[in-house]
């Protein structure tokens, strides 16, 4: 009986040790992963800030104005003026949808355009 208890205790110690070490290694691995991810986040953040700066630089009003002037022929953009305000009342509504025929029978959709 006593020996059995000793054995049990030994097994328990071994088991606990195994569990503790596994947890420890898992924690370390996770910590390493977190660190790596944080580094990745930091570098992504840095990239975002660079892109943001670049976006702001490319969208600076001076450059946009020059581009608008250069592409005047295709875009026809002119500075916004009081003439450019509209009234929603003056915008035509899209035409009302005409009542479509109700079809209840199955119809063939194959080659419905009648081509090819």
């Amino acid at each position: 009986m006593k020996n059995f208890l000793y054995l049990l205790c030994c097994a328990l110690v071994v088991g606990m040790a195994y569990w503790a070490y596994t947890e420890n290694y898992r924690t370390q691995a996770t910590a390493k992963r977190v660190q790596k991810l944080q580094q990745a986040i930091a570098s992504e953040r840095e990239e975002i800030s660079v892109l943001k700066a670049e976006w702001a630089y490319l969208n600076r009003p001076e450059r946009l104005r020059e581009l608008a002037d250069l592409n005047f022929e295709t875009l026809g953009l002119i500075p916004l003026s009081s003439q450019h305000f509209g009234d929603t009342n003056l915008v035509a509504f899209p035409p009302r949808p005409t009542n479509l025929e109700i079809v209840n029978e199955p119809i063939s959709v194959q080659n419905s355009e009648g081509v090819e």
Binding site: Q35, S49, A56, Y57, E62, P79, L80, S82, G86
Partner: protein, 595 residues
Amino acid sequence: MKRTPLRPLASVISARSKGENPDRIEARERAKRNQAMMTRQRKRAENRLMIMGVAFFFAFGAIGARMGMLAATEPAEPNAIASTSQILNQRADIVDRNGTVLATNLTTQSLYAQPPLMIDPAKAAKDLIKIFPDLDEKRLTRDFTGGKRKFLWVKRKISPEQRQAVHDLGEPGLLFGPREMRLYPNGNLAAHILGGAGFGKEGVQAAEIVGVAGIEKYHDKLLRDPAMNGAPLQLSIDLTAQATTRRVLSGGMKIMGAKGASAVLMDVNTGEIVSMVSLPDFDPNDRPRPAVDGDPSDSPLFNRAAQGVYELGSTFKLFAAATHLEKGLATPDTLINTESPMRVGKFRIRDFHNYGKTLSLTDVIVKSSNVGTARMALEAGAGAQQQMLSDLGFFEPVDVELGSATQTRPILPKRWSDISTMTISYGHGIAATPLHLATAYASITNGGYRVKPTLIKQRGVAKDRPQVISEKTSAQLRYMLRQVVAKGTASLGEVEGYEVAGKTGTADKPKPSGGYYEDRVIATFATVFPASNPKYVLILSLDEPEIFVHGEKRRTAGWTAVPVAAELISRVAPVLDLRPAVAAIDQITYTSAGN
């Protein structure tokens, strides 16, 4: 186990036959048995001691080894703590009222040298000059080969291309450190507002960015506060409006041959500065050094709108009218004596044109009669005038988020005599910044509530603003200002649909030696639009404008500042989403696309 009996029969019998006492045999056997037991127990105890010894040895050995390891390793923080919110050790961005970036950070590299590590210092110096021609070769060679310097900065900021080029030199004594720099993507656009930033304390791995002027300096602590956690500082500036203002102002400045110009566009109700431009300006990415000689006000660093104290001329007449109306001394139709010239002591005050014997109060403002306002000011008294000007903030620096503005005191007469009262009524003998004027005009036209100018985006109108004048007086004054544009000195300022109201001011520039220049003026147009429900106040001033129109050289604000302001309003108001009054809608050609 073999058991030996205590009284073995054989020994007992033989002892008895010899006549010996058999008890002695038992005693001997017992002693032998005890001896064996003791030997066994001793051995066991020794074993136990051995095991204990080994255990203690390992335990102490482990502790000793751990201590040794701890003592020998570099200290490191445990990294098991996964921080949930990352502290951003970075200067916060500055954005405009719509969130467009005005200032941000960019990581670059700095280049430093450690001469003791160098293989061929002389060659390294020579090669560096090829990459950075602006370096001093002699000094660099001396620093590298002198043997005294262990460390020196070569360049604070270098581009990735330059870094590669230095890398390709293969010199182990040339090293790089990461360096954060402040970037203003819009260049000159809001130069005076943003100010600029430089490096503070420097280390190899990082350098502190410190604001040196403008809002960067004023809010330096806030921008560096890690608790901001990446949230940007949002200004009241509208980038599009700012770009438009700068564009129109610089065009106007060229046409009018002015040497400088400034414009302040302020929300009349909240005091938010939507746009503030001072020309000439500079690039905050490459902030010039302050000029050591010459007039500091000619430097591009000088913010004319917030730092420049000027006599603002007839724009002050409105305050005389405000005092009169508010005190109940007159109504807009009361006739004012405008007989010119007016003699007081040995001084004579005269008008540009002779306007006859009397003008109504409205017409005094519309026609801009010096004599009329001077008489009004005398009638109301110096006390009332001072009260009005102090209520409008002319006695103190403007309390705005710019160090340069808060240090700029208006210039007041040392002794407030009757002559001062008279000249101040039409804007001479008192000098203030355009920002003062913007604040005062906003406060007068928004219904009489004193506004606090600010560069930070506000959430709606501040509560419990002190009231300077009544709503009724404010409306009457707006009507007068509107008449100035409709039929008075600022008729070129009419912008269809925006009911521009304003007052011109042309002040002779003072000579540094005393007295005034004959042919140099500061032309100012203080304007509010739309008059019926004011949204914005615009103060535009040109320094030494001159234009040849209708066979005459003209310098007055009506010919110089007003047309520029009109162009500015027609361009900037639509950008600020201000719809023109209904009259303009009839001429719609097409609607704006997009949002």
